[in-house]
């Protein structure tokens, strides 16, 4: 029988069955469930597949490359913005090549359901000159992970699998295949393959360039890329990844007048596109994300009109859906009733009993004295401190930026400046910034709001648990300016007092309000009660 799996879960199962030896990841919506699935899988445990969380996407990618170096099949998973953190290793891994097959899974979030931008990871793969697999169904998620390792090993390059939110977080029936053996440990044949000294890197890079034609040929022949002929040559359609589904929703195979190319493997199958261009009057490109294919084919087609996100046939930003695709083909949509005026928005909110609430209540009181615009924050549940009734924080940019932006603002003379960061974000990218601040003795106050968990993505284990004070002291924060507090209503006065005192201090101070995430506490107590019963 088929298994009912999320796209994320199907990909994870495909990797397990495809001979995976280790997954590395930092949690991030919509990628988190891939790694969680492997962590919870009995099969993965029996096969001793390594699956614990990493401190960030860069350390995760490097570890996956190391596992590949040792001959085994590895996978690294992240959300799209994690690619920015991983980019240093990702770009260079394309030049080193791989030994065991290596998959980089980037889960993009067009529409920004849970993200600060909607960058398109396919650009990273094009930048690095490596292949991309972009599933249009949960079955393809499974198959692409299962077969992706072989593709990686065949061409000696890392392979990217690009998901988008709707495929990652949508369930469908998936047929699984027999489990492959894991690779034995083996060293790369060329002992200098991974030594990117300029001379070796130049040689490797030429090799990477030389296989681009073969990668394109693999795309032309891929079972995941398909050319469907059509009688009406007034238009040809190129539909990528999940956009293919939205197109088929409007034009099922047996009712589609136009020629169609389904694209799920890159580099773009150029010959297919040229064949279409010869036959049709214009080409419409459907892709969820940036207009990558649209720009690319405009470059190599001589005169044929190309329609898509760039000429306004489709909106330039946001997520695609069946209605947007229908509109691009002039299909009339019968929208249901309008939303009645009585309906109001319901933004996400911090949970009742959350420790961040007590921290913000105290901080808000203290900051009144200094006026607004001085609190830099970061990425986590505590970013909701920007919304009423708190309205305390003034920034949320990228992982770890709270500490470094506070430092820069303080350097400019905005004193006092405060940073609010979570425990997991601190371990991800806060420590290096703290080193900079200590070195300059910057007059900033850093609040590490520690709930002992990576909560916004569902309460994964945080790499910072149990080490924060020691890390701060080790990088040079003066011990008398490191404080641990228990954020509870009854401790409000104490918190206000410590915040006030340290904000006046003209050097680096770190305050750690620490109380377990309320959601995690509930789950832990349930689990403990269950274990007691047994």
């Amino acid at each position: 029988m088929q298994k009912l799996l999320l796209g994320d879960e199907a990909l994870a199962q495909g990797a397990i069955d495809g001979g995976l030896s280790g997954v590395y990841a930092y949690p991030g919506t919509p990628s988190t469930e891939i790694t969680e699935y492997i962590q919870d899988s009995k099969q993965a445990k029996d096969r001793r597949i390594r699956s614990d969380w990493s401190a960030n996407e860069k350390t995760a990618t490097e570890a996956a490359l190391g596992m590949s170096y040792a001959g085994k099949r590895s996978m690294v998973c992240m959300k799209h913005v994690g690619m920015n953190v991983a980019a240093d290793c990702f770009m260079n891994a394309a030049v080193t090549g791989v030994n065991g097959g290596m998959l980089t899974v980037a889960a993009d979030d067009p529409g920004m359901h849970s993200s600060q931008n909607e960058q398109d990871s396919r650009f990273f793969a094009k930048f690095a000159l490596v292949p991309v697999l972009e599933p249009s169904s949960q079955q393809e998620c499974y198959d692409m992970a299962y077969e992706g390792f072989e593709l990686s090993e065949k061409f000696n390059v890392p392979v990217m699998i690009r998901l988008t939110t709707r495929i990652a977080h949508s369930r469908a029936g998936v047929t699984t295949r027999e489990t492959k053996k894991q690779n034995e440990i083996s060293l790369p044949k060329d002992p200098r393959q991974y030594v990117l000294l300029p001379g070796i890197a130049r040689r490797n890079y030429k090799k990477l360039l030389s296989i681009q034609g073969e990668l394109e040929k693999a795309s032309e022949e891929s079972k995941w890329n398909k050319y469907f002929d059509g009688k009406d040559k007034s238009k040809g359609v190129i539909a990528c990844g999940i956009a293919y589904n939205y197109f088929r929703e409007n034009y099922p195979e047996d009712k589609c007048p136009y020629p169609v190319i389904k694209v799920s493997q890159y580099p773009l199958p150029r010959k297919m596109v040229e064949k279409m261009a010869k036959e049709v009057k214009e080409i419409v490109v459907l892709e969820d994300g940036y207009p990558l294919v649209e720009e690319q084919i405009k470059g190599f087609l001589a005169k044929e009109p190309v329609r898509g996100r760039l000429d306004g046939t489709l909106p330039r930003d946001g997520e695609l859906n069946p209605a947007i695709v229908a509109a691009a083909f002039g299909i009339k949509i019968n929208q249901g009733a309008d939303i009645p005026a009585v309906v109001v928005g319901r933004p996400p909110a911090m949970c009742t009993g959350c420790s961040h609430i007590d921290m913000y209540t105290a901080l808000k009181e203290v900051m009144q004295k200094y006026g607004t615009g001085r609190v830099f924050s970061d990425i986590g549940c505590y970013t909701l401190g920007a919304l009423p009734p708190y309205g305390v924080i003034n920034s949320c940019v990228d992982m770890g930026a709270s500490i470094t932006m506070a430092k820069g603002a303080a350097d400019a003379g905005l004193v006092p400046a405060v940073a609010v960061i979570g425990d997991s974000t601190f371990a991800h990218s806060g420590i290096t910034g703290l080193i900079d601040a200590v070195r300059d003795k910057s007059p900033i106050t850093i609040i590490i709001s520690d709930n002992e968990s990576t909560s916004m993505t569902g309460g994964q284990d945080s790499s910072a648990v149990g080490i924060i004070e020691r890390v701060c002291e080790a990088v040079g924060v003066e011990p008398e300016h490191i404080h641990t507090l228990l954020p509870l209503k009854k401790n409000h006065e104490e918190m206000v007092e410590v915040f006030s005192r340290e904000i006046e201090y003209k050097g680096v101070s770190v305050i750690i309000p620490r109380r377990e995430c309320i959601q995690k506490a509930v789950r832990r107590k349930k689990k403990e009660a269950k274990e007691k019963k047994q």
């Binding site: 029988m1 088929q2 009912l4 999320l6 919506t29 919509p30 988190t32 469930e33 359901h113 849970s114 709707r166 495929i167 977080h169 949508s170 369930r171 469908a172 029936g173 999940i242 589904n245 939205y246 088929r248 929703e249 099922p252 859906n321 069946p322 209605a323 229908a326 949509i333 019968n334 929208q335 249901g336 009733a337 309008d338 939303i339 009645p340 009585v342 309906v343 109001v344 928005g345 319901r346 933004p347 996400p348 909110a349 911090m350 949970c351 549940c381 909701l384 009423p388 009734p389 916004m456 993505t457 569902g458």
Partner: protein, 194 residues
């Protein structure tokens, strides 16, 4: 057959367990299924929606096209109204009456009821009260599933079997209380369909 169902509520109300029971029922009938969920930040008390598509033919889009849903099944009354643009003219709204007030500007309940009662095909059910009466407050969701069942083109037994699939490992008591909740919701709809 095809069923396009918008399942909605507030993060934490557990609409995903309704989806799981429906999914199990669909699989038992050898039907195709796609179900898009909301994960991530919105789960922190924001509005959440799941697009559930069941069909005897392969399904393309993971999202239900606007104006095409056969039903909006909501565990919260204001949330039922939020997705009306998705509902087809023949579609049904089945909604719980208990408001989930986690915002300071929650509108007047009378206004919400007025809007709901204007709809041509609607079942309004106090699923919390029914669940509480039966002594299992937590099965509000399953009362809602039962209330939706008369309008969904699948045999009643397949919903029962779906519940057995997802609650079976929790023991007979849990299964039976959920089966009773399903039944209570089902008969409420039969009696009160407009």
């Amino acid at each position: 057959m095809k069923i396009d169902l918008i399942l909605c509520g507030v993060g934490g109300q557990g609409i995903l367990s309704i989806a799981a029971a429906l999914g199990a029922a669909a699989l038992r009938n050898n039907l195709y299924l796609k179900q898009a969920e909301t994960h991530g930040m919105s789960q922190r008390g924001g509005d959440v929606v799941s697009h559930m598509r069941i069909s005897d033919k392969p399904i393309h889009s993971d999202l239900i096209p606007i104006g095409a849903a056969d039903m909006i099944l909501s565990v919260e009354p204001m949330e039922a109204l939020r997705y009306l643009p998705f509902l087809s003219p023949k579609g049904y709204v089945v909604t719980n009456t208990t408001p989930f007030k986690n915002i300071p500007n929650y509108p007047s309940e009378d206004e919400i009821m007025k809007e709901l009662k204007k709809l041509p095909n609607v079942v309004i059910i106090d699923a919390d009260a029914i669940a509480e009466e039966m002594g299992s407050k937590r099965s509000m969701n399953i009362v809602m599933l039962g209330a939706a069942a008369p309008f969904l083109d699948m045999p009643y037994e397949s919903f029962e079997n779906g519940l057995r699939d997802i609650f079976g490992r929790k023991g007979d008591d849990v299964v039976n209380s959920n089966l009773a909740a399903l039944k209570a919701g089902y008969y409420f709809s039969i009696k009160n369909r407009k």
